[in-house]
Amino acid sequence: MADELLLEIVTPERMAFSGKVDEVTIPGTEGEFGVLRGHTPLLSFVDVGVLNFTQENKKTYYAVNTGYTEVTAQKVTVLVETAERSDNIDVERAKRAKERAEERLSKMTKEDVNYEKARSALLRAITRISVAEKP
């Protein structure tokens, strides 16, 4: 097919995904953006969030951690520190992580050195839960 787009999701641990997709949506720092084949070359930072792509009208969801993405006309490379597919996520663990992070956050003020850390942990947990609930 002429309008295919190659997507690679690379993490330090492994190649999380590599294959042809129709469309991919990436959580950039400046907001979520969708990529189709023929996109202008783009480099963007990727934030903690939900990445999804469509393959034959089927959507697959990944929870990703920070990294960046490189987009060219035929290929999208996503380099992130972690990437988990929706059906691989341990919801119970994510929920526990969320509770822990919430508890820690409730005890600190914004000036606390660990505030950012706890906030991003909470963000990651919420993302993972929301991804896990996707089909």
Binding site: V10, T11, P12, P41, L42, L43, Y68, E81
Partner: protein, 291 residues
Amino acid sequence: MAALKDIKRKIVAVQKTKQITKAMNMVAASKFKAAQLRMDNFRPYARKFMDVLNSLALRVDTASHPLLAVREPKRIWVICMTSDRGLCGGFNNNLIKAAERFLMEEVRRGKETTLVTVGRKSRDYFRKKAKIKSEYTDVFGKFDMTLAVRISNDIIPPFQREEYDELYLFYNEFVNVSTQRPAVVRLFPLSSVGQDEMVDSDKRIDYLYEPSDEALLEKLLPMYVHVLVYRALLETYAGENGARMAAMDNATRNCEELIGSLTLKFNKARQAAITTELMDIVGGAEALAKG
């Protein structure tokens, strides 16, 4: 015969030791395999990362970035990265010696040195000898990128606050299963960015940068430190298990040799005992016949 029993006991003991070293060798081998797989899996990530970083560094003036700031080196930090556990030959010792020599040399030149230790062996060795800023022990059992991030978060902010001027990382470079070489890289100020001539100009694409290219570089440089630290961790882990495999293989062979020579000794002693006994019997019989 007391001597016979002693030798027998020794043989059994050595056999038990051999069993243990053999088992350790096999455990190390399987861990090594896993470690090698992780290294292979990491390579595409690292390569891709360097590609982008280099092409970015060519476009942006990197000299102004705080992680690249060259200052007169007065205060030096050293990361010494060893394994948590021993029984792996000279793996840790060689590295620790190299790091110590380096530290002593710098002290002699009047520099102020501080240490960050990764791995139990390095911590144990330097605990009473040097100023340790932070330590990581029992980390190699199960580690991932978050460990590299944790270490990086300990070293990046102090450098930016100008609490020290140079940072060297000592780790065992993984050459192959049986060879690990103590290696040192200068982490800060970062130097290798953008000087890589591998990026040929026609391969370079004019990207749209989001947010801006400077902002992107700002975020990528700390990630570059993560990549460097993570790679060192992976190499240390693979090297440790490779070294342990070799050491245990040697030990097993030595056990076999020892068992061989002990068995020979045992048989000789047994033969000697039988001969003496026979002599006794023959002597007694002769005495009887004469009488």
